[in-house]
Each structure stands twice: as C-alpha cells, then as structure tokens.
C-alpha cells in the first residue's frame, strides 16, 4: 500500500468520484467535477451517462481529457449533440438528471455560491468569471453535490456577496417559497476535509472527514461558527488502485493545461 501519500486534494477528488452513481444521469459542471467524473469512470462507473450544458451526452471516457465541457474533445464519440435548451431544461430542469456536480468557488452557510464578485458588485475587490450555467445547476439540479478545493475560510463566508448559484438562500423555507422545485438545492459539499451535508434549516454541516482531520480543522475552514456533530464519521483511506488512477488522471489533466493545486 502506497496510499499514505494521498494529498487532501486527491482525497477530495476520490471522495467526489465515489459519490457518483453509475446508474444515475449526472450533470457535470466544469473543472474538478470533470476530473472526478473521469476518475469515477475508471473506478466504478465506466458507462455512466454524463451531460454537459452545451448539449453533449457522454457515455464513456473520452480519449482526451477536455479542458472544459466546451472543449469539444468532450464530444468525441458522444451519443447525442444537442443544445442548451435540451441540457439545462429538458434534462436538468425536468428532473431527468439525478445528480448534479458544481464547483463552488465561494460558498456560504446556506450553500449559496458566488462565482461573480467579491465586494460591491459595481466595484468588486475580486471579480470572478460569472455564472455560466452554474446558476441553473444550483437552481434546478437534483442530487446537487458542491465541490470546493479550498480549505481557506475566505472561500466559506457566512453570507456570500453575490448569489450566483442559489443554495438555500436565507434558509430552506425561503427557497421553497420562491418557486424553486422540490428536490432541488444542494445536498452535499465535498472539499479536501471531507463530506458535508445540509441540515433541516439548510445549513452546512460536516458528515464525514478524512483520517486525521480534526474538529478544529473543520471549524477553521468556515467563516461562521459551523455546527459540528459530537462524532464525525471518518472516510476510508484511498487504496493503491484509486490513488494510482487519480494521479494518472491528474497527470493527464496537467498535460491538458489544467492548473493543479501543487503547480
């Protein structure tokens, strides 16, 4: 076993990949979710159906790692090439998608995501790219898994400055009163510490952490006093096969110009 060297980032990717169900149609957003999906295909879900916002349906691993869903090597061997009305509404909005994976650069207590602007919208301290289809994933995605590679508390403010992708807004009851569909809203978050869920109020809380991660590590990660259960489940160590595969895929990603955390 050469697993002891698994980095928190690699553990995050493997944990996210393990969340993917080979029998569930999965909407994969850009960036780390795409890495997770490739790892999942190689580990346990080779024929999983994945859809992308531009209308691609992918049912097997593509020979080349796409740099984003719109890198059309993602369409190599696709069984369907349609458009965004299909992907965002006929598949995602209509509930044909059972799992949704969305990178969450900045995420708050209620799972609201900001990928637009930190600080005042018209004069931001940090300007981010904007929503793309991320708003749709947050608004309409079933089985929504948020992904963040950060453990910096600036990535987890109490309340985001701009809600690009809606989580539970001010709480579950607010979300449900504003026309959002039942079954939508974030279900889980995966980050380098472990897995998180959302409680009845729609607040983030840890459900399982990687070996060695402490309650203090969890508390330090979030910009609000996060509620931590008395006991935290511990996620399994990656095995050698898992670690080899995630590293191969990360190497492939690097060759495809992905900026990796250690770079």
């Amino acid at each position: 076993m050469v697993t002891s060297g698994a980095s928190p980032f690699e553990r995050m990717l493997l944990t996210g990949a393990a969340c993917m169900d080979p029998d569930v149609v999965t909407f994969v957003g850009f960036h780390w979710p795409m890495v997770m999906a490739r790892v999942a295909r190689r580990l346990h879900a080779p024929a999983m159906t994945i859809v992308y916002e531009n209308g691609i349906v992918e049912d097997r691993i593509t020979p080349v790692f796409p740099t984003s869903p719109c890198d059309l090597v993602a369409a190599d061997g696709a069984t369907m090439c349609a458009g965004s009305v299909d992907a965002l509404y006929m598949w995602l909005g209509a509930g044909r998608v059972g799992m949704t994976m969305l990178e969450a650069a900045i995420v708050d207590r209620h799972g609201n995501i900001n990928t637009t602007a930190v600080g005042p919208y018209k004069k931001p301290l940090v300007r981010l790219p904007g929503s793309g289809g991320g708003t749709e994933l947050g608004s309409m995605g079933r089985g929504l898994l948020l992904v963040s590679a950060s453990t910096n508390s600036r990535s987890y403010p109490d309340c985001v400055d701009y809600i690009t992708s809606p989580g539970y807004l001010g709480g579950r009851s607010q979300r449900s009163s504003l026309g959002y569909k039942p079954g939508t809203g974030p279900q889980r978050l995966v980050n380098p510490l472990g897995l998180f869920g959302f409680n009845e109020a729609g607040e983030l809380f840890p459900t399982a952490v990687h070996p060695g991660v402490t309650v203090d590590d969890v508390r330090a990660c979030f910009g609000w006093p996060i509620a931590v259960p008395d006991t935290l489940n511990v996620l399994p160590e990656p095995n050698a096969d898992e670690l080899a595969i995630v590293r191969e895929e990360l190497e492939h990603a690097r060759e495809r110009a992905y900026l990796l955390p250690q770079d």
Binding site: M140, I163, P166, L169, G179
Partner: protein, 302 residues
C-alpha cells in the same frame, strides 16, 4: 432567393460594425469567431455594446483593447487552465484598462431570452432566479428579468425579457452562396441566438455548393432568408474549437493567458498577433503550418 454578398472580414467590420454598434457575437467557448475580434481591434472600433453568452478570450481582448462600452454575458474567462480573463478582471476591479458596464444573465436565462427573442414572444419563463444576484442586481438592463404568477398554479415564476440583438455575427461550419448555414456537434444556444438577431452575418469555415446543404438539411441551423452576408474565413474560431474542423489550441490559450496578466503583456500580444499580422492570413502564417496541422481534424466528409 439570390446569392448573398461574400465579404472579407475587413469589409464586414467596415460596412456593418460602426462605433457604438449593438453586436451579438456567436460561440460558446467553441466556435467563438476570434478573427472577428482581431479585425474589430485592427479597425479600432469603439463604444460597442457586445452580447456574448460565453465571453472567453474573445471578449477579454475586446475589453483589453478598450472597444466595449457595454457587455451582456453569462461569464468571461479563459477556460484553459482555467485562468481568469485578466483584462476583464482588471477593468472591473478598477485596476487598469478602459472601464465598461457589465450586465449578466445565467446561461439558461440567456438561452431562454434568446429563445423568446427568436420566437418574438413577449417573455419566456426561465430558471427560478428569485433571490439570486442575477435577479436582484441590474445595471443597464433594469428589465432583464421579471416575475409573474403562474396562471395555472400559485407560485411566482421567473421570466426573462426577449433578447433581440440589432446585429449578430456567428461562426458556422459551412454555408452556401445563398446563406444556408450548417453546424455539426453541440449547438448550445446558437440556433436561438442566430434567429434572435435582427440582422445576421455568418463567418463560415467553408463555402459549399447548395447540393451539399441539401444532403444534410437537418444540419442547417439558419436558413438563407435570415442571413444578410457571408464571410468565408477558415480557422476563424481559433483558438477555440470548431467541431470536426479543428481542436482548441491550448498552448495559444496559455500564451494569451500568460501575456494578458499585465497590461504590457496584453499590449504585446495585440501588437504581435493582431496588429502586425494585418489580417487573418497573417495571423495564421504567424501561427505556422505545423501548428495548424497539429490542430486540424481529418474527419470524413459530412
């Protein structure tokens, strides 16, 4: 139906894109007509109102070169890396570069707004958006989104106003002399976007005989009667990809990402790759045949 004018990119910008033009630019991080952006920069257009779903490097260059007064987009970045769209970010953070106004819609709302525009519907229901930044924050399009009560239920429904750009310029795969334009692979929002434009010009990888069009009538994304003029410019979407024609150019995206980190680097990129090259042939010559060979796809004939 008569043949449509076939223009050079230079003529397209000269004749159709005056300063201040409202201009929807096609592509969704693929089929981005970057060669159009180059020519807009060469001719130093100003005060443009640009609409583009996925801004990408194309919009970043226009921002960096100070051509844009207003931008409607769903995101702007360099998806290779990914790295930020540096000019875009600098300008909005007030750290240099010409200022511009931004208005945003989610990709789904943008798509539905274009569908409403294409169909001339007064609005379209869209993604539930109440409480989000897109809904709460407005700049130069205060009526971009609204809400109505569902007449068949009792919940509020988020709706988007129709988007009807004055002029659209879109990259397509092939076109005939009449203006029938075809695309293959995913089309994102483009079918609706093209139909939403009041005037439409297509930039095609190749001009084909109408009989070629007739052999695949399902691939026609815009009929001749919507197209006003044609530009035939192979590699016009480089460094983004053109399905079946060429791949995304990762090294070039990295080069742009690297240089545009500073205003000086961006100026160097513009000088070397846009100004000095003179036109798209010059750009391709600078890129080099070996690079083009590396990117070129050898597909079967459709």
């Amino acid at each position: 139906m008569v043949d449509k004018p076939v223009l050079s990119m230079r003529e397209l910008v000269e004749r159709f894109v005056p300063d201040g033009q409202e201009l929807m630019i096609g592509g969704f991080a693929f089929s981005d007509p970057t060669a159009l952006a180059h020519e807009l920069i060469r001719q130093n257009r100003r005060e443009l109102y640009v609409m583009k779903t996925s801004g990408g490097v194309l919009v970043d260059m226009l921002v960096g070169a100070g051509l844009i007064r207003r931008l409607l987009s769903c995101h702007v970045w360099n998806s290779v890396g990914p790295v930020p769209a540096h000019c875009f970010r600098r300008s909005l953070e007030g750290k240099g570069g010409a200022p511009f106004e931004i208005e945003e819609l989610s990709y789904g709302a943008f798509t539905m707004g274009l569908l409403a525009g294409a169909c001339d519907l007064p609005f379209a229901p869209t993604t539930p958006l109440l409480g989000t930044g897109h809904f709460e924050t407005r700049t130069f399009l205060p009526d971009k989104l609204g809400q109505v009560m569902n007449p068949f239920g009792s919940e509020p429904v988020s709706v988007v106003a129709p988007i009807k750009p004055e002029l659209g310029v879109f990259h397509v795969h092939r076109v005939d002399a009449l203006g029938n334009a075809q695309m293959f692979g995913p089309t994102g929002e483009m079918r609706y976007a093209m139909a939403a434009c009041k005037r439409l010009i297509v930039i095609a990888e190749e001009l084909v005989d109408t009989e070629v069009i007739r052999a695949r009538p399902e691939a026609t994304v815009v009929p001749s009667f919507m197209v006003e003029a044609i530009v035939v410019e192979p590699w016009a979407a480089h460094p983004t990809d053109s399905y079946g024609y060429y791949l995304r150019d990762l090294p070039h995206n990295e080069l742009y990402g690297s240089l545009s980190r500073t205003p000086e680097g961006f100026a160097q990129y513009v000088d070397e790759w846009i100004t000095q090259t003179g036109n798209h042939s010059g750009f391709l010559a600078k890129l080099g045949e070996a690079e083009l060979d590396r990117l070129r796809l050898r597909r079967e004939q459709w």
